[in-house]
Protein backbone atom coordinates (compact mmCIF):
# COMPACT_ATOMS: atom_id res chain seq x y z
CA UNK A 1 0.00 0.00 0.00
CA UNK A 2 1.30 3.43 -0.80
CA UNK A 3 0.21 6.92 0.12
CA UNK A 4 1.31 9.70 -2.16
CA UNK A 5 1.47 12.20 0.70
CA UNK A 6 4.23 10.18 2.38
CA UNK A 7 6.27 10.28 -0.77
CA UNK A 8 6.91 6.61 -0.94
CA UNK A 9 7.08 5.10 -4.34
CA UNK A 10 7.88 1.43 -4.04
CA UNK A 11 6.50 -1.18 -1.76
CA UNK A 12 9.12 -2.90 0.39
CA UNK A 13 9.11 -6.66 0.64
CA UNK A 14 10.51 -8.75 3.43
CA UNK A 15 13.53 -10.82 2.32
CA UNK A 16 15.02 -13.23 4.85
CA UNK A 17 18.29 -15.13 4.73
CA UNK A 18 19.45 -17.63 7.31
CA UNK A 19 23.21 -18.16 7.33
CA UNK A 20 24.22 -21.65 8.32
CA UNK A 21 27.52 -23.43 8.81
CA UNK A 22 28.20 -26.54 6.71
CA UNK A 23 26.87 -28.56 9.68
CA UNK A 24 23.68 -26.51 9.69
CA UNK A 25 24.40 -24.39 12.76
CA UNK A 26 23.37 -20.73 12.70
CA UNK A 27 26.17 -18.24 12.01
CA UNK A 28 26.18 -14.95 13.92
CA UNK A 29 27.78 -11.68 12.72
CA UNK A 30 27.23 -12.47 9.01
CA UNK A 31 26.24 -9.68 6.66
CA UNK A 32 23.78 -10.16 3.79
CA UNK A 33 23.53 -7.37 1.25
CA UNK A 34 21.33 -6.97 -1.80
CA UNK A 35 22.66 -5.02 -4.79
CA UNK A 36 20.06 -4.32 -7.54
CA UNK A 37 21.12 -5.53 -10.98
CA UNK A 38 20.13 -2.08 -12.20
CA UNK A 39 22.39 0.04 -10.04
CA UNK A 40 20.55 3.22 -10.97
CA UNK A 41 17.88 2.04 -8.53
CA UNK A 42 20.23 2.54 -5.54
CA UNK A 43 19.02 5.56 -3.57
CA UNK A 44 21.29 8.15 -1.99
CA UNK A 45 22.16 7.79 1.69
CA UNK A 46 19.12 9.01 3.55
CA UNK A 47 20.45 9.26 7.10
CA UNK A 48 22.60 12.10 8.37
CA UNK A 49 23.17 10.50 11.78
CA UNK A 50 26.59 8.81 11.89
CA UNK A 51 26.75 5.13 12.76
CA UNK A 52 28.77 4.19 15.87
CA UNK A 53 31.80 1.94 16.29
CA UNK A 54 32.56 2.11 20.02
CA UNK A 55 35.51 0.74 22.05
CA UNK A 56 34.26 -1.05 25.14
CA UNK A 57 36.44 -3.21 27.40
CA UNK A 58 39.23 -3.21 24.82
CA UNK A 59 36.97 -4.56 22.09
CA UNK A 60 35.27 -2.99 19.12
CA UNK A 61 31.56 -2.77 19.66
CA UNK A 62 29.83 -3.94 17.56
CA UNK A 63 32.18 -6.59 16.23
CA UNK A 64 30.64 -6.10 12.77
CA UNK A 65 28.98 -2.87 11.69
CA UNK A 66 27.23 -2.56 8.33
CA UNK A 67 26.56 0.80 6.67
CA UNK A 68 25.72 2.08 3.23
CA UNK A 69 28.52 3.69 1.22
CA UNK A 70 28.42 7.41 1.89
CA UNK A 71 27.48 7.07 5.56
CA UNK A 72 29.53 8.51 8.41
CA UNK A 73 30.85 6.61 11.44
CA UNK A 74 31.67 7.94 14.88
CA UNK A 75 34.47 6.31 16.90
CA UNK A 76 33.84 7.08 20.57
CA UNK A 77 36.02 5.53 23.30
CA UNK A 78 34.12 4.15 26.29
CA UNK A 79 37.30 2.81 27.90
CA UNK A 80 39.37 4.74 30.41
CA UNK A 81 42.51 4.09 28.41
CA UNK A 82 43.50 5.26 24.96
CA UNK A 83 43.17 3.40 21.68
CA UNK A 84 44.89 3.82 18.36
CA UNK A 85 42.44 2.58 15.74
CA UNK A 86 43.58 1.98 12.20
CA UNK A 87 42.68 0.33 8.93
CA UNK A 88 44.81 -0.60 5.97
CA UNK A 89 41.79 -1.78 3.96
CA UNK A 90 41.37 -0.66 0.37
CA UNK A 91 37.86 0.56 1.05
CA UNK A 92 39.11 2.97 3.72
CA UNK A 93 42.59 3.49 5.07
CA UNK A 94 42.90 5.69 8.16
CA UNK A 95 44.21 5.99 11.71
CA UNK A 96 42.66 7.66 14.74
CA UNK A 97 44.07 8.15 18.23
CA UNK A 98 41.17 7.84 20.62
CA UNK A 99 41.48 9.43 24.02
CA UNK A 100 39.01 9.21 26.84
CA UNK A 101 36.32 11.89 26.59
CA UNK A 102 37.80 13.37 23.42
CA UNK A 103 35.68 11.98 20.56
CA UNK A 104 37.13 12.72 17.13
CA UNK A 105 35.10 13.96 14.15
CA UNK A 106 33.14 11.21 12.39
CA UNK A 107 34.68 9.62 9.28
CA UNK A 108 32.94 9.17 5.93
CA UNK A 109 33.03 5.75 4.28
CA UNK A 110 32.45 6.40 0.58
CA UNK A 111 33.78 3.25 -1.02
CA UNK A 112 31.95 -0.10 -0.79
CA UNK A 113 33.95 -2.99 0.63
CA UNK A 114 35.10 -4.45 3.93
CA UNK A 115 37.09 -2.25 6.31
CA UNK A 116 39.04 -4.29 8.87
CA UNK A 117 39.78 -2.32 12.02
CA UNK A 118 42.65 -2.91 14.42
CA UNK A 119 44.14 -1.15 17.45
CA UNK A 120 47.87 -0.51 17.45
CA UNK A 121 48.01 -0.75 21.25
CA UNK A 122 45.76 -3.79 21.81
CA UNK A 123 46.66 -6.27 19.11
CA UNK A 124 43.73 -8.60 19.80
CA UNK A 125 41.17 -5.88 19.05
CA UNK A 126 39.60 -6.46 15.67
CA UNK A 127 36.39 -5.13 14.20
CA UNK A 128 34.80 -4.76 10.80
CA UNK A 129 32.79 -2.19 8.92
CA UNK A 130 30.94 -3.65 5.97
CA UNK A 131 30.33 -0.80 3.55
CA UNK A 132 27.41 -1.89 1.39
CA UNK A 133 26.58 -0.53 -2.04
CA UNK A 134 22.86 -0.24 -1.31
CA UNK A 135 20.74 0.46 1.76
CA UNK A 136 19.41 -3.12 1.66
CA UNK A 137 21.52 -5.17 4.08
CA UNK A 138 21.43 -6.75 7.53
CA UNK A 139 23.55 -8.58 10.10
CA UNK A 140 22.71 -12.01 11.46
CA UNK A 141 21.87 -12.54 15.10
CA UNK A 142 22.49 -15.72 17.10
CA UNK A 143 19.79 -17.49 15.07
CA UNK A 144 21.76 -16.74 11.89
CA UNK A 145 18.81 -14.82 10.49
CA UNK A 146 18.89 -11.58 8.55
CA UNK A 147 15.77 -9.75 7.44
CA UNK A 148 15.99 -7.05 4.78
CA UNK A 149 13.19 -4.79 3.63
CA UNK A 150 13.77 -4.16 -0.08
CA UNK A 151 11.66 -3.14 -3.07
CA UNK A 152 10.60 -5.88 -5.48
CA UNK A 153 13.12 -6.57 -8.19
CA UNK A 154 16.19 -8.45 -9.30
CA UNK A 155 19.25 -8.38 -7.05
CA UNK A 156 22.62 -9.90 -6.49
CA UNK A 157 22.91 -11.31 -2.96
CA UNK A 158 26.25 -11.11 -1.16
CA UNK A 159 26.83 -12.90 2.13
CA UNK A 160 29.95 -12.09 4.12
CA UNK A 161 31.45 -13.05 7.48
CA UNK A 162 34.84 -11.98 8.94
CA UNK A 163 35.96 -15.59 9.31
CA UNK A 164 34.76 -16.87 5.95
CA UNK A 165 37.11 -18.88 3.80
CA UNK A 166 37.80 -18.01 0.12
CA UNK A 167 35.27 -20.40 -1.45
CA UNK A 168 32.43 -18.69 0.41
CA UNK A 169 33.83 -15.18 -0.06
CA UNK A 170 33.64 -15.63 -3.83
CA UNK A 171 30.00 -16.75 -3.82
CA UNK A 172 27.18 -14.52 -4.94
CA UNK A 173 23.71 -15.34 -6.14
CA UNK A 174 21.05 -13.57 -8.15
CA UNK A 175 17.73 -13.42 -6.32
CA UNK A 176 14.31 -12.03 -7.00
CA UNK A 177 12.64 -10.09 -4.26
CA UNK A 178 8.93 -10.53 -4.68
CA UNK A 179 6.50 -11.30 -1.93
CA UNK A 180 8.03 -12.43 1.35
CA UNK A 181 10.80 -14.82 0.53
CA UNK A 182 13.09 -16.93 2.67
CA UNK A 183 16.45 -18.35 1.78
CA UNK A 184 18.90 -20.58 3.58
CA UNK A 185 22.56 -19.81 2.87
CA UNK A 186 24.75 -22.71 3.84
CA UNK A 187 28.48 -22.10 3.90
CA UNK A 188 30.59 -24.47 1.81
CA UNK A 189 33.49 -24.38 4.25
CA UNK A 190 33.64 -24.03 8.02
CA UNK A 191 34.61 -20.60 9.30
CA UNK A 192 38.14 -20.01 10.55
CA UNK A 193 38.17 -21.42 14.04
CA UNK A 194 39.14 -18.13 15.68
CA UNK A 195 37.02 -17.57 18.72
CA UNK A 196 35.36 -14.24 19.06
CA UNK A 197 34.97 -14.08 22.79
CA UNK A 198 34.29 -11.19 25.07
CA UNK A 199 36.58 -12.32 27.88
CA UNK A 200 38.72 -9.25 28.35
CA UNK A 201 41.30 -8.33 30.92
CA UNK A 202 40.99 -4.88 32.42
CA UNK A 203 44.68 -5.02 33.30
CA UNK A 204 46.05 -5.66 29.86
CA UNK A 205 48.56 -3.18 28.54
CA UNK A 206 47.12 0.27 28.50
Amino acid sequence: MCFAVLGCSVQAERFSVTVLSPEGNPVEHAVAALVPLDKSLIPEVSTSTPAVMDQIDRQFSPYVLAIQAGEWVNFPNSDSIKHHVYSFSEAKSFQLRLYKDKPPEPLAFEKPGVVALGCNIHDWMIGYIYVAESPWFGISDTSGEITIEAPQGEYQLHVWHPLMKPADLAREQNVTVATSSQLAWTLQEALHSLTHDHLTDEFDEY
Binding site: K82, H84, Y86, F88, Q95, R97, G118, N120, I121, D123, W124, M125, I126, L163, H192, S193, L194, T195, D197, L199, T200, D201, F203, D204, E205, Y206
Partner: protein, 377 residues
Protein backbone atom coordinates in the same frame (compact mmCIF):
# COMPACT_ATOMS: atom_id res chain seq x y z
CA UNK B 1 62.90 -7.42 62.81
CA UNK B 2 63.90 -4.03 61.51
CA UNK B 3 63.45 -3.40 57.79
CA UNK B 4 66.51 -3.57 55.52
CA UNK B 5 65.58 0.02 54.57
CA UNK B 6 66.63 0.95 58.11
CA UNK B 7 69.67 -1.35 57.99
CA UNK B 8 67.91 -4.25 59.64
CA UNK B 9 67.57 -7.84 58.49
CA UNK B 10 63.77 -7.83 58.20
CA UNK B 11 62.08 -8.62 54.90
CA UNK B 12 59.08 -6.30 55.05
CA UNK B 13 59.05 -2.61 54.30
CA UNK B 14 57.37 -1.67 57.57
CA UNK B 15 58.49 -2.55 61.06
CA UNK B 16 57.73 -1.30 64.54
CA UNK B 17 59.06 2.13 63.56
CA UNK B 18 56.19 2.64 61.14
CA UNK B 19 53.16 1.63 63.19
CA UNK B 20 50.55 4.28 62.61
CA UNK B 21 49.73 6.43 59.66
CA UNK B 22 52.28 6.96 56.88
CA UNK B 23 52.16 8.38 53.39
CA UNK B 24 53.27 5.16 51.73
CA UNK B 25 53.81 6.58 48.29
CA UNK B 26 52.75 9.24 45.86
CA UNK B 27 53.07 8.66 42.15
CA UNK B 28 52.62 10.72 39.01
CA UNK B 29 52.86 9.39 35.51
CA UNK B 30 53.27 11.62 32.48
CA UNK B 31 52.71 10.62 28.88
CA UNK B 32 53.23 12.57 25.67
CA UNK B 33 52.08 11.22 22.30
CA UNK B 34 53.93 12.68 19.37
CA UNK B 35 52.32 12.97 15.95
CA UNK B 36 54.46 10.13 14.67
CA UNK B 37 54.76 6.72 16.26
CA UNK B 38 56.77 7.93 19.27
CA UNK B 39 55.58 8.31 22.83
CA UNK B 40 57.36 9.62 25.91
CA UNK B 41 56.51 8.26 29.32
CA UNK B 42 57.93 9.04 32.75
CA UNK B 43 56.98 8.05 36.29
CA UNK B 44 57.84 9.99 39.43
CA UNK B 45 57.51 8.59 42.96
CA UNK B 46 57.62 10.09 46.40
CA UNK B 47 58.38 7.80 49.35
CA UNK B 48 58.64 8.58 53.03
CA UNK B 49 61.39 6.03 53.55
CA UNK B 50 64.62 4.93 51.95
CA UNK B 51 67.64 6.89 50.85
CA UNK B 52 65.97 9.27 48.40
CA UNK B 53 62.43 10.61 48.76
CA UNK B 54 61.58 11.88 45.31
CA UNK B 55 62.69 10.66 41.93
CA UNK B 56 62.02 8.84 38.70
CA UNK B 57 61.39 5.11 38.51
CA UNK B 58 60.97 5.02 34.73
CA UNK B 59 61.57 7.40 31.83
CA UNK B 60 61.39 6.00 28.33
CA UNK B 61 60.53 6.63 24.73
CA UNK B 62 58.34 4.08 22.97
CA UNK B 63 58.22 3.65 19.22
CA UNK B 64 55.21 1.72 18.00
CA UNK B 65 54.69 2.12 14.25
CA UNK B 66 51.43 1.23 12.52
CA UNK B 67 51.85 -1.96 10.57
CA UNK B 68 49.36 -4.19 8.82
CA UNK B 69 50.71 -7.55 10.00
CA UNK B 70 53.43 -8.16 12.54
CA UNK B 71 53.75 -5.48 15.20
CA UNK B 72 56.90 -3.86 16.48
CA UNK B 73 57.49 -1.98 19.69
CA UNK B 74 60.80 -0.43 20.60
CA UNK B 75 61.47 1.09 24.01
CA UNK B 76 64.51 3.22 24.80
CA UNK B 77 65.34 4.66 28.21
CA UNK B 78 64.90 3.33 31.72
CA UNK B 79 61.92 1.03 32.23
CA UNK B 80 60.70 -2.27 33.68
CA UNK B 81 60.93 -5.43 31.63
CA UNK B 82 57.60 -7.26 31.23
CA UNK B 83 58.62 -10.49 32.94
CA UNK B 84 55.40 -10.94 34.86
CA UNK B 85 51.67 -10.10 35.01
CA UNK B 86 51.62 -8.80 38.55
CA UNK B 87 52.32 -5.12 37.89
CA UNK B 88 50.19 -3.93 34.95
CA UNK B 89 48.95 -0.68 36.45
CA UNK B 90 50.34 2.81 35.99
CA UNK B 91 53.58 3.29 37.91
CA UNK B 92 54.19 -0.48 37.83
CA UNK B 93 51.63 -0.94 40.60
CA UNK B 94 49.79 -4.17 41.25
CA UNK B 95 45.99 -4.21 41.20
CA UNK B 96 46.05 -7.32 43.41
CA UNK B 97 48.04 -6.90 46.62
CA UNK B 98 49.79 -3.82 47.97
CA UNK B 99 52.97 -5.77 48.74
CA UNK B 100 54.38 -7.35 45.62
CA UNK B 101 55.43 -10.98 45.42
CA UNK B 102 58.98 -11.78 46.50
CA UNK B 103 60.04 -11.99 42.86
CA UNK B 104 58.59 -8.65 41.85
CA UNK B 105 59.68 -6.96 45.07
CA UNK B 106 63.20 -7.83 43.99
CA UNK B 107 62.57 -6.66 40.41
CA UNK B 108 61.22 -3.40 41.86
CA UNK B 109 64.34 -2.80 43.93
CA UNK B 110 67.20 -4.12 41.82
CA UNK B 111 66.13 -4.44 38.20
CA UNK B 112 65.54 -1.90 35.50
CA UNK B 113 66.26 -1.94 31.80
CA UNK B 114 68.49 1.02 31.12
CA UNK B 115 68.92 0.54 27.42
CA UNK B 116 66.66 -0.65 24.68
CA UNK B 117 64.09 -3.37 24.09
CA UNK B 118 62.51 -4.56 20.86
CA UNK B 119 59.31 -6.59 20.84
CA UNK B 120 57.97 -8.27 17.69
CA UNK B 121 54.43 -9.64 17.85
CA UNK B 122 52.47 -11.82 15.50
CA UNK B 123 48.91 -10.88 16.47
CA UNK B 124 46.82 -14.01 16.16
CA UNK B 125 43.58 -12.34 15.20
CA UNK B 126 45.18 -10.72 12.16
CA UNK B 127 45.96 -14.22 10.95
CA UNK B 128 42.71 -15.90 11.98
CA UNK B 129 44.50 -17.70 14.77
CA UNK B 130 43.80 -17.99 18.49
CA UNK B 131 47.54 -17.88 19.22
CA UNK B 132 49.60 -14.72 19.52
CA UNK B 133 53.38 -14.87 19.78
CA UNK B 134 55.90 -12.20 20.74
CA UNK B 135 59.67 -12.21 20.82
CA UNK B 136 61.36 -9.70 23.09
CA UNK B 137 65.04 -8.85 23.08
CA UNK B 138 66.93 -6.23 25.01
CA UNK B 139 70.42 -4.92 25.57
CA UNK B 140 71.06 -2.78 28.59
CA UNK B 141 73.73 -1.25 30.80
CA UNK B 142 73.86 0.00 34.40
CA UNK B 143 72.32 -2.97 36.16
CA UNK B 144 75.53 -4.27 37.72
CA UNK B 145 74.31 -4.03 41.31
CA UNK B 146 71.46 -6.50 40.72
CA UNK B 147 71.89 -9.45 43.06
CA UNK B 148 73.36 -7.64 46.06
CA UNK B 149 70.19 -7.59 48.15
CA UNK B 150 69.34 -11.18 47.27
CA UNK B 151 72.78 -12.33 48.32
CA UNK B 152 72.74 -10.86 51.82
CA UNK B 153 69.24 -9.91 52.84
CA UNK B 154 67.56 -12.59 50.71
CA UNK B 155 64.07 -12.22 49.28
CA UNK B 156 61.66 -9.61 50.67
CA UNK B 157 58.02 -8.56 50.19
CA UNK B 158 57.21 -4.88 49.71
CA UNK B 159 56.29 -2.20 47.19
CA UNK B 160 59.28 0.11 47.58
CA UNK B 161 60.52 0.66 44.05
CA UNK B 162 64.09 1.92 43.84
CA UNK B 163 64.32 5.34 42.22
CA UNK B 164 66.79 5.77 39.39
CA UNK B 165 70.19 6.59 40.90
CA UNK B 166 69.03 5.75 44.42
CA UNK B 167 70.97 3.58 46.82
CA UNK B 168 69.35 0.91 48.97
CA UNK B 169 70.55 0.09 52.47
CA UNK B 170 70.73 -3.31 54.13
CA UNK B 171 72.06 -4.64 57.41
CA UNK B 172 75.73 -4.32 58.19
CA UNK B 173 76.32 -8.07 58.19
CA UNK B 174 79.45 -9.25 60.04
CA UNK B 175 81.12 -10.31 56.80
CA UNK B 176 80.70 -6.81 55.36
CA UNK B 177 82.55 -5.09 58.14
CA UNK B 178 84.96 -8.04 58.17
CA UNK B 179 86.34 -9.98 55.21
CA UNK B 180 84.45 -8.00 52.53
CA UNK B 181 85.52 -4.61 53.75
CA UNK B 182 85.37 -2.92 50.34
CA UNK B 183 81.64 -3.54 50.21
CA UNK B 184 79.48 -1.01 52.08
CA UNK B 185 76.09 -2.01 53.49
CA UNK B 186 74.19 -0.39 50.65
CA UNK B 187 73.84 -0.93 46.94
CA UNK B 188 73.28 1.34 43.98
CA UNK B 189 71.58 -1.18 41.71
CA UNK B 190 71.50 1.03 38.62
CA UNK B 191 75.21 1.59 38.18
CA UNK B 192 77.61 0.66 35.39
CA UNK B 193 80.70 -0.83 36.95
CA UNK B 194 82.23 -3.22 34.43
CA UNK B 195 81.40 -1.57 31.06
CA UNK B 196 79.80 -4.76 29.85
CA UNK B 197 76.44 -4.87 28.12
CA UNK B 198 73.76 -7.14 29.52
CA UNK B 199 70.85 -8.71 27.69
CA UNK B 200 67.55 -10.45 28.12
CA UNK B 201 65.48 -12.36 25.66
CA UNK B 202 61.93 -13.49 26.09
CA UNK B 203 58.99 -15.15 24.44
CA UNK B 204 55.29 -14.50 25.04
CA UNK B 205 52.49 -16.82 24.02
CA UNK B 206 48.85 -15.91 24.37
CA UNK B 207 45.89 -18.16 23.70
CA UNK B 208 42.78 -16.15 22.89
CA UNK B 209 42.47 -13.67 25.74
CA UNK B 210 42.43 -16.24 28.54
CA UNK B 211 45.88 -17.65 28.88
CA UNK B 212 49.28 -16.10 28.58
CA UNK B 213 52.79 -17.37 29.25
CA UNK B 214 56.04 -15.41 29.33
CA UNK B 215 59.48 -16.98 29.43
CA UNK B 216 62.62 -14.86 29.86
CA UNK B 217 66.33 -15.33 30.19
CA UNK B 218 68.17 -12.43 31.82
CA UNK B 219 71.94 -12.05 32.07
CA UNK B 220 73.61 -8.78 33.02
CA UNK B 221 76.94 -10.33 31.99
CA UNK B 222 78.58 -8.78 35.04
CA UNK B 223 82.31 -9.06 35.49
CA UNK B 224 82.56 -10.08 39.17
CA UNK B 225 86.11 -8.76 39.42
CA UNK B 226 85.12 -5.16 38.79
CA UNK B 227 84.50 -2.88 41.74
CA UNK B 228 84.29 0.90 41.82
CA UNK B 229 85.79 3.32 44.33
CA UNK B 230 82.63 3.23 46.48
CA UNK B 231 82.77 -0.54 46.81
CA UNK B 232 80.03 -1.23 44.29
CA UNK B 233 80.76 -4.57 42.66
CA UNK B 234 79.60 -5.81 39.32
CA UNK B 235 77.46 -8.81 40.20
CA UNK B 236 77.21 -11.49 37.59
CA UNK B 237 73.47 -12.13 37.72
CA UNK B 238 71.47 -14.41 35.47
CA UNK B 239 68.10 -16.05 35.79
CA UNK B 240 65.13 -17.67 34.12
CA UNK B 241 61.66 -16.30 34.70
CA UNK B 242 58.44 -18.02 33.72
CA UNK B 243 55.06 -16.34 34.24
CA UNK B 244 51.50 -17.45 33.71
CA UNK B 245 48.19 -15.67 33.68
CA UNK B 246 44.93 -17.49 33.23
CA UNK B 247 41.43 -16.08 33.31
CA UNK B 248 38.79 -18.63 34.28
CA UNK B 249 36.06 -16.04 33.95
CA UNK B 250 35.98 -12.30 33.74
CA UNK B 251 35.95 -12.19 37.54
CA UNK B 252 38.29 -14.97 38.53
CA UNK B 253 41.92 -15.43 37.53
CA UNK B 254 45.23 -16.96 38.58
CA UNK B 255 48.74 -15.65 38.18
CA UNK B 256 51.95 -17.52 38.80
CA UNK B 257 55.64 -16.89 38.39
CA UNK B 258 58.81 -18.85 38.93
CA UNK B 259 62.34 -17.48 38.94
CA UNK B 260 65.59 -19.38 39.15
CA UNK B 261 69.07 -17.93 38.85
CA UNK B 262 72.43 -17.14 40.32
CA UNK B 263 74.62 -14.21 41.24
CA UNK B 264 78.27 -13.83 42.10
CA UNK B 265 80.78 -11.10 42.85
CA UNK B 266 84.41 -10.73 43.80
CA UNK B 267 87.61 -12.62 43.21
CA UNK B 268 87.00 -16.35 42.61
CA UNK B 269 83.35 -15.73 43.40
CA UNK B 270 83.87 -14.49 46.94
CA UNK B 271 80.12 -14.16 47.28
CA UNK B 272 78.05 -16.54 45.18
CA UNK B 273 74.40 -17.40 45.64
CA UNK B 274 71.80 -19.37 43.74
CA UNK B 275 68.30 -18.02 44.13
CA UNK B 276 64.83 -19.25 43.32
CA UNK B 277 61.29 -18.20 44.16
CA UNK B 278 57.75 -18.75 43.01
CA UNK B 279 54.30 -17.53 43.79
CA UNK B 280 50.74 -18.45 43.03
CA UNK B 281 48.14 -15.71 43.15
CA UNK B 282 44.42 -15.90 42.70
CA UNK B 283 42.13 -12.94 42.47
CA UNK B 284 38.39 -12.50 42.33
CA UNK B 285 36.52 -9.37 41.45
CA UNK B 286 33.04 -8.85 42.81
CA UNK B 287 31.54 -5.58 41.57
CA UNK B 288 33.82 -2.89 42.96
CA UNK B 289 35.63 -5.28 45.31
CA UNK B 290 38.73 -7.26 44.49
CA UNK B 291 39.95 -10.10 46.68
CA UNK B 292 43.43 -11.51 46.14
CA UNK B 293 45.40 -14.25 47.84
CA UNK B 294 49.03 -15.04 47.15
CA UNK B 295 51.45 -17.66 48.40
CA UNK B 296 55.17 -16.96 48.00
CA UNK B 297 58.00 -19.41 48.46
CA UNK B 298 61.63 -18.34 48.22
CA UNK B 299 65.14 -19.56 48.80
CA UNK B 300 68.78 -18.61 48.36
CA UNK B 301 71.59 -21.15 48.44
CA UNK B 302 75.14 -20.09 49.22
CA UNK B 303 77.49 -21.58 46.61
CA UNK B 304 80.81 -19.98 47.53
CA UNK B 305 83.41 -21.39 49.92
CA UNK B 306 83.59 -18.32 52.10
CA UNK B 307 82.75 -19.63 55.53
CA UNK B 308 82.64 -16.14 57.03
CA UNK B 309 79.79 -15.18 54.74
CA UNK B 310 77.11 -17.84 54.69
CA UNK B 311 74.04 -16.60 52.86
CA UNK B 312 71.63 -19.50 52.75
CA UNK B 313 68.05 -18.46 53.35
CA UNK B 314 64.53 -19.65 52.79
CA UNK B 315 61.02 -18.64 53.65
CA UNK B 316 57.44 -18.32 52.59
CA UNK B 317 54.64 -15.80 52.83
CA UNK B 318 50.88 -15.47 52.59
CA UNK B 319 49.34 -12.23 51.42
CA UNK B 320 45.63 -11.54 51.49
CA UNK B 321 44.16 -8.31 50.20
CA UNK B 322 40.76 -6.75 49.79
CA UNK B 323 40.53 -3.65 47.67
CA UNK B 324 37.44 -1.59 47.09
CA UNK B 325 36.95 1.31 44.73
CA UNK B 326 33.72 3.08 45.71
CA UNK B 327 34.46 6.06 43.49
CA UNK B 328 36.73 6.61 40.53
CA UNK B 329 39.02 8.87 42.58
CA UNK B 330 39.21 6.76 45.74
CA UNK B 331 40.34 3.25 46.54
CA UNK B 332 40.60 1.66 49.94
CA UNK B 333 41.85 -1.69 51.03
CA UNK B 334 43.22 -3.92 53.72
CA UNK B 335 46.17 -6.22 53.34
CA UNK B 336 47.37 -8.91 55.67
CA UNK B 337 50.86 -10.25 55.11
CA UNK B 338 52.46 -13.11 56.99
CA UNK B 339 56.10 -13.76 56.13
CA UNK B 340 58.49 -16.15 57.76
CA UNK B 341 62.13 -16.56 56.85
CA UNK B 342 65.33 -18.22 58.01
CA UNK B 343 68.63 -16.59 57.06
CA UNK B 344 71.98 -18.10 58.01
CA UNK B 345 73.69 -14.72 58.14
CA UNK B 346 71.47 -13.38 60.90
CA UNK B 347 73.43 -13.83 64.10
CA UNK B 348 72.68 -13.50 67.78
CA UNK B 349 75.19 -12.88 70.56
CA UNK B 350 74.84 -16.45 71.88
CA UNK B 351 75.97 -18.02 68.57
CA UNK B 352 79.51 -19.31 68.67
CA UNK B 353 81.87 -16.76 67.16
CA UNK B 354 79.17 -14.15 66.74
CA UNK B 355 79.85 -10.51 67.21
CA UNK B 356 78.19 -9.25 70.35
CA UNK B 357 76.83 -6.25 68.45
CA UNK B 358 74.36 -8.27 66.36
CA UNK B 359 71.08 -9.52 67.64
CA UNK B 360 69.23 -11.02 64.71
CA UNK B 361 67.43 -14.34 65.19
CA UNK B 362 67.97 -16.60 62.20
CA UNK B 363 64.32 -17.49 62.02
CA UNK B 364 61.89 -14.62 62.03
CA UNK B 365 58.21 -14.23 61.27
CA UNK B 366 56.23 -11.12 60.76
CA UNK B 367 52.58 -10.25 60.46
CA UNK B 368 51.90 -6.96 58.76
CA UNK B 369 48.49 -5.34 58.48
CA UNK B 370 47.97 -2.42 56.19
CA UNK B 371 44.90 -0.27 55.84
CA UNK B 372 45.42 1.67 52.65
CA UNK B 373 43.54 4.64 51.31
CA UNK B 374 44.52 5.79 47.84
CA UNK B 375 43.50 8.78 45.81
CA UNK B 376 43.50 8.16 42.07
CA UNK B 377 43.63 11.12 39.66
Amino acid sequence: MQSWLREGTGITRYDGHNDGLVLSQAMAEGEVDFENAWQLQATVYYYHDGDTRLGLTEAALTYQPLTAGWKHRVRVGAFYPNFSFENPKAGWQSPYTYSFSAINSWVAEELRTIGTEWQITRPGRQYNSNHTFSLVSSVFVANDGAGTLLAWRGWALHNRQTLLGERVAFADYPSISGPLELQPNWVKPFLETDDRIGYYIGGHWRHRRNTELRLYRYDNRGDPLQVDSQGQYAWDTKFWSLSLKHLFTREWRVLAQWMDGSTAMGDSAAVAVDFNAWYLLTSYKYHKHRFSLRYDNFETVDTDNNRYDVNDSHGHAWTLAWRYQPHKYIEMGIEYLYATSWNANRTTPDQPGADAGFDWPQRGSREQWQLVISGVY
